[in-house]
């Protein structure tokens, strides 16, 4: 079957951006993000992940190359940027820089108020966004009394309240403990199921392997590699070469297949629980005695 060619929803085409101090942000970087996809952007510190995020939201303008959005080059006029930012939301890495008001619900209302919506609509959106991140109870709390994880969730709610089509999250798990990470992963999972296009910049290959359906790896501002999750088990040497950690599930799966304990599958397991289930299934089927063998052994 021939699939129709559709232009990517968001794309960078040979984008270059150098900061004023001469440090490279992006260098001739090209990548594409499909509509309704979950894209993980991985890379070491200084690889250009944050610069990429800022380009996707129109906060930085490429010095060379083009950023494409919804089939057209990004429009950097005042109206164009307003439209872009209403459709592409960005959650910053450090919540302290994103939270502008000392009140939770006021801060969440900031984006929808900028969209010029009626106050009654803004109120509904704020309530819905706070419910989506599980912070309804904290609506009237001061921001400075929240934990770091809660502040991150307020930032996410502030973007969700704008009801964007794309959410870009820059290092959403940085500084979070394990329960908070799981909580945030649950929220992201629910948002993904609602059909939002999501882009997450992360250092965590385990999360990216389980969550994303497309990997883009940046190195020194360039796109070093792109993988679909099913390609990861065979791409482990390349990942190691790029200095990224290896997804433990993919590594283990590869070893188990190589040692004959698991049979290779078209869709390899992506999460710990999936791998365990397959192992148990394989172990169970190996323990099942062949027909008639049980009777013979009892003789």
């Amino acid at each position: 079957m021939i699939r129709p060619m559709t232009p990517p929803f968001l794309a960078l085409e040979a984008v270059t951006y150098t900061y004023q101090d001469g440090s490279p942000g992006l260098v001739d970087c090209s990548l594409a993000i499909a509509r309704h996809s979950r894209t993980a952007v991985l890379g070491l510190n200084g690889s250009g992940k944050t610069t990429l995020c800022l380009h996707l939201n129109g906060l930085l303008r490429p010095q060379a190359g083009t950023v494409w959005f919804d089939g057209a080059p990004m429009d950097y006029s005042r109206a164009g940027l307003k439209n872009l930012r209403a459709r592409v939301g960005l959650v910053f890495q450090n919540p302290e820089t994103q939270l502008l008001s000392a009140s939770v619900e006021e801060d969440v209302s900031f984006g929808p108020m900028n969209l010029g919506l009626p106050r009654s609509v803004v109120r509904k959106r704020v309530d819905a966004a706070l419910a989506a991140v599980g912070l309804t109870e904290a609506a009237s709390k001061p921001v400075h009394n929240l934990s770091f994880g809660q502040k991150k969730r307020v930032c996410l709610a502030g973007v969700l309240a704008m009801q964007p089509e794309v959410i870009v999250l820059d290092e959403p798990f940085a500084g979070l403990d394990v329960p908070m990470q799981r909580e945030l992963q649950g929220i992201l999972e629910r948002l993904g199921q609602q059909g939002l296009t999501m882009v997450i910049c992360s250092h965590d290959p385990d999360f990216a392997y389980e969550w994303a359906d497309q990997w883009h790896i940046l190195a020194a501002g360039r796109l070093a590699a792109s993988f679909a999750p099913e390609q990861i088990p065979t791409a482990l040497p390349r990942l190691a070469e790029l200095g990224l950690g290896l997804p433990k599930v993919a590594e283990l799966y590869k070893e188990l297949v190589a040692s004959g304990r698991l049979t290779a599958a078209a869709a390899p397991p992506r999460g710990h629980s999936d791998l365990l289930a397959r192992l148990r299934q394989t172990a169970g089927s190996k323990c099942q005695p062949a027909a008639g063998s049980e009777g013979r052994s009892r003789k």
Partner: protein, 248 residues
């Protein structure tokens, strides 16, 4: 900062800030109208009791907030009753009490105390964020409100930052000697000063990311229906102003 934290926990926090503002304003007015120190002291006591009992603040917390400005107030009032004259003989200056100034000093002192307790009543039951809601309704210029909003937010950011830096400096003996403490404090101030610019730039970027292209607009916090609290506040205001008129 500790006072602000208690304001968030006040029992009267959810009463409309307009009602509390009306009481505080009436208390100020009453303090300026009245000229009998006895009435002013009673007014101060009532306002303090309302803040502690009504607002649910521990009295120790209240005293902690009251005592520093009270000390300034006492010193300031005492100087009103002191005269300094050119001395005769060995001493070039003669310092003495001026009994004729006592009534004036007591009146100004008690009036200031009443105003101070009125301010503590409002600030102890209404966090600044809620006051901003009131100021927006009162059509205070947008620029001032934005400065207040960002200033209020950044106070907490920089306070946390300064605390972390002080702790990090202490862990490396940064305050072990007087000289080291002076250097550490200087370094911290210098680093914080440079961070202000970076933070301001980051906040501008974050605001732009959420579609801001000018004024900072927020949805005002909603308070429970306030008809009853406004009526109570109005009655209290009338009582205070009438009593002050009698005591003038």
């Amino acid at each position: 900062m500790f006072w602000e934290q208690w304001a968030y926990r006040s029992r009267w926090r959810l009463i409309h800030p307009g009602a509390k503002g009306l009481v505080a304003l009436a208390a100020f007015g009453s303090a300026f109208i009245a000229s009998r120190p006895g009435y002013l002291l009673i007014l101060a006591l009532v306002l303090a009791a309302a803040t502690i009992r009504g607002g649910g603040l521990p009295w120790r917390v209240y005293l902690r907030a009251l005592l520093p400005p009270l000390a300034f107030l006492l010193v300031g009032t005492a100087t009103l009753a002191v005269t300094v004259q050119a001395g005769a003989g060995f001493w070039p200056l003669a310092v003495g009490l001026e009994p004729s100034q006592f009534p004036q000093a007591v009146l100004i002192g008690s009036r200031s105390l009443a105003c101070l307790t009125a301010l503590l009543f409002l600030s102890g039951t209404t966090p600044l964020n809620d006051l901003l809601v009131l100021l927006r309704r009162l059509k205070v210029p947008q620029v001032l409100l934005e400065i207040m909003t960002l200033g209020y937010r950044t106070i907490f950011i920089f306070s946390a930052c300064a605390q972390d830096m002080t702790m990090a400096q202490k862990s490396r003996l940064g305050y072990a000697t007087l000289g080291a403490a002076r250097r550490s404090l200087g370094n911290m101030v210098a680093v914080l000063a440079t961070q202000i610019g970076a933070r301001a730039a980051a906040m501008t970027l974050a605001a732009a990311a959420r579609g801001s292209d000018g004024p900072l607009m927020f949805l005002d916090q909603e308070f429970p229906p306030g008809r009853r609290s406004f009526l109570v506040a109005l009655a209290a205001a009338l009582v205070m102003v009438s009593a002050a008129a009698v005591a003038s």
